[in-house]
């Protein structure tokens, strides 16, 4: 995990070749298999792009989408969940129903549709923030449900009741007592959401619905798939990068949920 965060910050500097560098087209080093030329350790693809370099260039972009979208989802989700959980009556019922409608949507198809249409419409270079926004806007319902469940649980706890008995106002109770206590499950589910968002982004770019001018792992996989019969390495290595990164976040989520949720264990 730490390794990927490190790559996110320094990936651009570590990569030996610039983003989507086609230099090899002129130097004749296209289609290089991996481990044959140390200038291109993981080989090059059909148009001469260096696989190793491109994976590193893609890392910050994929992490940006994964984490950025999660931040947006958490912001919306916690807000909706807090209102649905804390308020009683009409507004909370409406929000809860709204959340459930959202949960039932075939989200991935709609996200693909959004990505396909809007990436076309916006100016080049904004593809990535746009996909982040789309993923964020569709990712909040789980967060909202968790937040609501936690609020319903916490507000019945004794110390919250005590604070209310002492005359603390709703807002004070919400921000002083409830929000800090619901952090841990939110953190756990956010970590898992980051993993899910990265996977979705990979699918979007793999299908060619992303920004064709930004390096991402999915875009590299798309290029690899086109030449699957001759260049296995262009498919293998970026995929491994995805697996390890997503695995890292999933393991972190599992680990956090164990650590934050102490139970008797052998």
């Amino acid at each position: 995990m730490g390794f990927f965060v490190f790559l996110m910050v320094f990936g651009f500097f570590l990569a030996p070749y610039p983003v989507r560098d086609f230099g090899c087209l002129y130097q004749g080093c296209t289609n290089l298999p991996p481990f044959t030329d140390w200038a291109h350790p993981l080989g090059t693809e059909n148009s001469g792009i260096d696989v190793y370099s491109e994976i590193l260039n893609g890392t910050p972009n994929d992490l940006f989408v994964g984490i950025g979208a999660t931040v947006i989802s958490v912001a919306i989700g916690v807000l909706v969940g807090a209102i649905a959980g804390y308020g009683r009556g009409f507004s909370s019922a409406i929000l809860l129903g709204f959340t459930q409608v959202f949960l039932t949507l075939p989200v991935l198809i709609i996200i693909l549709l959004f990505a396909r249409v809007f990436v076309l419409l916006v100016a080049g270079g904004f593809g990535l923030p746009l996909i982040t926004l789309i993923l964020g806007v569709f990712g909040w319902p789980t967060i909202a449900l968790v937040a609501r469940g936690e609020i319903l649980r916490i507000r019945e706890l004794e110390f919250v009741q005590a604070a209310r008995a002492l005359g603390a106002g709703n807002r004070r109770i919400l921000f002083r007592h409830i929000v800090p206590n619901m952090l841990s499950p939110i953190i756990v589910i956010s970590t898992l959401l980051i993993a899910g968002n990265i996977l979705t982004e990979v699918i979007i770019s793999f299908l060619g619905f992303g920004d064709p001018n930004t390096s991402t792992w999915g875009l590299l996989l798309q290029e690899g798939f086109a030449y699957i019969r001759t260049e296995w390495w262009v498919s293998l290595f970026p995929g491994l990068a995805v697996v390890f990164c997503v695995l890292g976040f999933n393991l972190m989520g599992d680990g956090l949920s164990d650590a934050l949720n102490p139970r008797l264990r052998e």
């Binding site: 075939p106 198809i109 299908l207």
Partner: protein, 323 residues
């Protein structure tokens, strides 16, 4: 029974807003992509004013947006999905592909439940044993993998290098057939995509069943059943399993929607002629009526799957029927 009926009625009523939400989103977004005439002009540069006028009235472009939405929705509900920009009606294009997609999804669902439930139980009963650690680590790999990438890797191994299995399509269009026969040929084409889909959803189901089972085995009613002298197998497979599976049913329902929505990636990898692949093709060339149709059909399938889930859930958990 009456309570079960009202419960189902409520669930069906709940689906209406979902359907409306999807239809509004789909309609708006496809309209945001540009009107069909602009797209037609890309390929037919010379349109006479009369042709243009015909197109405008055909797509009702002279009417306001909301009027067009209701017209479109009405047509959809009566089964008219419109005309593909590539010629032919949308319905004719989509309908045969529903079957191929469902074939893949349902096979994978059956296999993954068949494998996932026993493995999950075993893992929970032997928590922290070597086999449990092996199962949980494989499962977390499974959920960390893009489905299509696993497909690519299997194609590399079994098709490109070993030449054991076909890598695309769902049937060989003409002989020679795989394994010498038309029917075996179809099975050969199914193996890899079903394997990929099964592996990924088994991973999810094993994790869920294991977690639920661990939770349930900690419950007092399991201890009480044990204290009453019931057989360990009765406790595990009847008392505990029913409690562990019930929440999984909901999630399988939801994840059926998720899997179906994941079809584009997988079907593209295997060139599987289903809804997902059709969606990708249509979206790539911006054949918006087809894209709209597929999105709506997938939504309907997901809603039907959810209804099935609700039925199962109500059957399994008596509390649902009453609350």
């Amino acid at each position: 029974m009456a309570s079960l009926l009202t419960y189902l009625l409520r669930r069906i009523l709940f689906m209406i807003p979902v359907f409306i939400a999807v239809s509004v989103i789909t309609f708006l977004i496809t309209n945001a992509a540009g009107d069909p005439i602009k797209l037609i002009r890309l390929s037919f540069k010379t349109l006479t004013p009369t042709q243009l006028q015909q197109l405008i009235s055909f797509y009702h472009l002279d009417q306001p947006l909301y009027a067009r939405y209701f017209q479109w929705l009405g047509e959809f509900l009566t089964g008219n999905l419109g005309i593909s920009l590539q010629g032919g009606t949308v319905a004719d294009k989509i309908v045969p592909w529903i079957g191929t997609t469902l074939e893949l999804q349902l096979l994978a669902l059956v296999f993954s439940l068949g494998i996932g439930i026993p493995v999950g139980i075993y893992s929970a009963k032997h928590q922290y044993s070597k086999s449990d650690v092996a199962v949980t680590s494989t499962a977390i790999f499974g959920v960390s993998m893009p489905t299509f990438w696993l497909g690519i890797m299997l194609i590399l191994i079994f098709s490109v290098y070993l030449h054991w299995l076909p890598s695309f399509g769902f049937i060989s269009p003409y002989p020679p057939y795989w394994w010498g026969n038309y029917y075996l040929d179809a099975i050969a084409h199914l193996i890899l995509p079903v394997l990929v889909l099964t592996f990924v959803s088994v991973a999810t189901i094993v994790r869920l069943i294991r977690a639920n089972m661990l939770e349930v085995l900690r419950q007092d009613y399991v201890l009480a059943a044990r204290a009453s002298g019931l057989k360990e197998s009765t406790i595990t497979f009847r008392y505990a399993l029913k409690n562990a599976v019930t929440p999984v049913v909901t999630i399988v329902g939801l994840s059926f929607g998720f899997l179906l929505a994941g079809a584009p990636g997988l079907e593209t990898t295997f060139t599987w002629p289903g809804l997902g692949y059709a969606f990708v093709l249509a979206a790539t060339v911006l054949d918006l009526p087809v894209v709209q149709g597929i999105t709506m059909i997938i939504t309907l399938l997901v809603l039907i799957a959810n209804l099935g889930t609700d039925l199962m859930y109500a059957y399994l958990d008596p509390r649902v029927r009453l609350s």
